[in-house]
């Protein structure tokens, strides 16, 4: 019997030197309460480690949180690695703190959505659900 609605799997990652994890823990909790399986890989991971994890866990969404200003380096790297692994169906979503022009540029490069600091948790949940629905089954 086919599962009624497949559970959405999300990997939440903190990359590099950024040591702020309170926000991601709140997001993780919100996603869990919305019925999703949330994999959190802890602080200070590299883009390679994060993409490896995303591929092994076959997540629907890879959420990367950055408050350190390194987003214009890290996101393109992650997108490139996912592309190399043939894992473009994994939707990349960004979070944290970054200027609007960078948000636009990153979305042009392939980040599906960026939900900055102070985005209400239910908006995060509905955005993820919508993105996964739009992408369709895989």
């Amino acid at each position: 019997m086919e599962a009624k609605t497949d559970t959405i799997r999300v990997l939440i990652a903190k990359v590099g030197l950024d040591g702020h994890d309170r926000g991601v823990k709140i997001v993780a909790r919100a996603l869990r309460d919305a019925g999703m399986d949330v994999i959190y890989t802890g602080l200070h991971r590299t883009p390679d480690e994060v993409v490896d994890a995303a591929v092994q866990e076959d997540v629907d969404v890879l959420g990367v949180s950055l408050l350190s200003g390194a987003h214009m380096t890290i996101f393109p790297k992650i997108l490139k690695l996912l592309d190399e692994r043939g894992a473009n169906d994994i939707l990349v979503v960004g979070g944290g703190v970054m200027p609007d022009e960078d948000v636009d540029e990153l979305k042009r490069q392939g980040v599906k959505e960026i939900l900055l600091q102070d985005t209400p948790p239910d908006k995060i949940v509905s955005t993820i659900r919508q993105l996964v629905t739009e992408r369709g089954p895989r």
């Binding site: 019997m1 086919e2 599962a3 497949d6 559970t7 799997r9 993780a28 909790r29 996603l31 869990r32 309460d33 919305a34 019925g35 999703m36 399986d37 949330v38 994999i39 959190y40 890989t41 802890g42 991971r45 590299t46 390679d48 480690e49 490896d52 994890a53 591929v55 092994q56 866990e57 076959d58 692994r85 043939g86 894992a87 473009n88 169906d89 089954p137 895989r138």
Partner: protein, 325 residues
């Protein structure tokens, strides 16, 4: 990759050890996809090589850290290791936070290690739905050791025994007056006991208590045992006891092979899986067939006219009368 790849097309890629295909297949097994069944049956035919090790212990026992150390050690002998880390789903929302990977950081970047996190999704017994299919897939993919790591909170551990060739129970010292393993028959299910956080002062007492309890069990049973259950002290940050634990796991496998118990255990696993799958199917069919039949019974229950037990019997009678056999 836009169209959904048929599961049968993934099978050979799984056998070839391709990470993406393995991960894909794991997802389909976990979601209970009917489309994937033929592929999973094929994959099952390709299993039998891996040593399946179940590791369980209460939350806070240091299990995940120990598993990471174990995997790192196994890698030194060039064995490929897969870890299925199971955590409970929230009974309220059905979602989960799977954090075991946090402890596995040192294994990152090693192509010989595969880590997959799974949520129990309401399954009783500490194992997730699809955990055993996951073990099949990783076995067929060529991993030499497949570790199932699960949280044990009591009788739940029993399931992990019925799923693995070697079961390791991890206890942490100083978590209460009594050793967690003594409660609810968890003591006996272990093929190996590991005491974590060996640098704590209470560690030695925990070890001697465990050994005492195990010895008492043997004396009470009054039978000759072919093997004494080892109790191994470990301290993950100091890499203490890890090589002993690996040796004990390997020795257990050798013992099971030479005594013929391995085949017995395998057959028990097969039987258990068949029965679990049958229960699961029955449960799902019941959920389907009870739809739309509940309202009148619920009304009677509300009025106090009928007891839940009797209502249950009538519900079932209703279903079996109308369902074609």
């Amino acid at each position: 990759m836009s169209a959904r790849i048929p599961s049968l097309d993934l099978v050979d890629r799984v056998s070839a050890g391709e990470t993406r295909a393995i991960a894909r297949m794991l997802t389909r097994a976990e979601s209970g996809s009917t489309e994937a069944r033929a592929a999973l049956d094929l994959i099952y035919q390709r299993t039998g090589r891996a040593h399946v090790v179940g590791i369980t212990g209460v939350p806070g026992s240091g299990k995940s850290t120990l598993v990471a150390k174990l995997a790192a050690h196994l890698r030194r002998s060039e064995r490929k290791v897969a870890i299925v880390a199971v955590d409970p789903s929230s009974p309220f929302s059905g979602g989960s936070i799977l954090g075991d990977r946090i402890r596995m950081g040192e294994l990152g970047g090693d192509p010989g290690v595969f880590v997959r996190s799974m949520a129990t999704r309401g399954a009783l017994g500490g194992l997730a739905r699809g955990t055993l299919e996951a073990v099949d897939i990783l076995d067929a993919a060529g991993y030499d050791v497949v570790i199932i790591e699960t949280v044990g909170v009591g009788q739940d551990e029993v399931d992990i025994v019925r799923a693995s060739h070697t079961t390791v129970v991890v206890s942490a010292p100083g978590l209460g007056d009594d050793i967690q393993a003594i409660k609810a028959g968890v003591l006996e299910i272990a093929d190996i006991h590991a005491v974590s956080k060996g640098d704590k002062p209470e560690a030695d007492k925990t070890i001697s208590d465990l050994k005492g309890m195990l010895g008492l069990g043997v004396a009470l049973a009054g039978r000759i045992v072919g093997r004494l259950t080892p109790v191994i002290k470990t301290c993950s940050p100091q890499d203490q006891g890890i090589s002993e634990l690996v040796a004990a796991i390997d020795e257990h496998r050798d013992y099971m092979k030479s005594s013929g118990l391995l085949e017995e255990r395998r057959q028990a696993i097969r039987e258990r899986r068949m029965l679990k799958a049958a229960e699961q199917i029955l449960h799902e069919e019941f959920e389907q067939h009870r739809e739309g039949r509940m309202a009148p019974l619920l009304a009677e229950l509300g009025d106090g006219q009928v007891s839940p037990q009797s209502a249950a019997r009538r519900l079932l009678a209703h279903i079996s009368m109308e369902t074609p056999q």
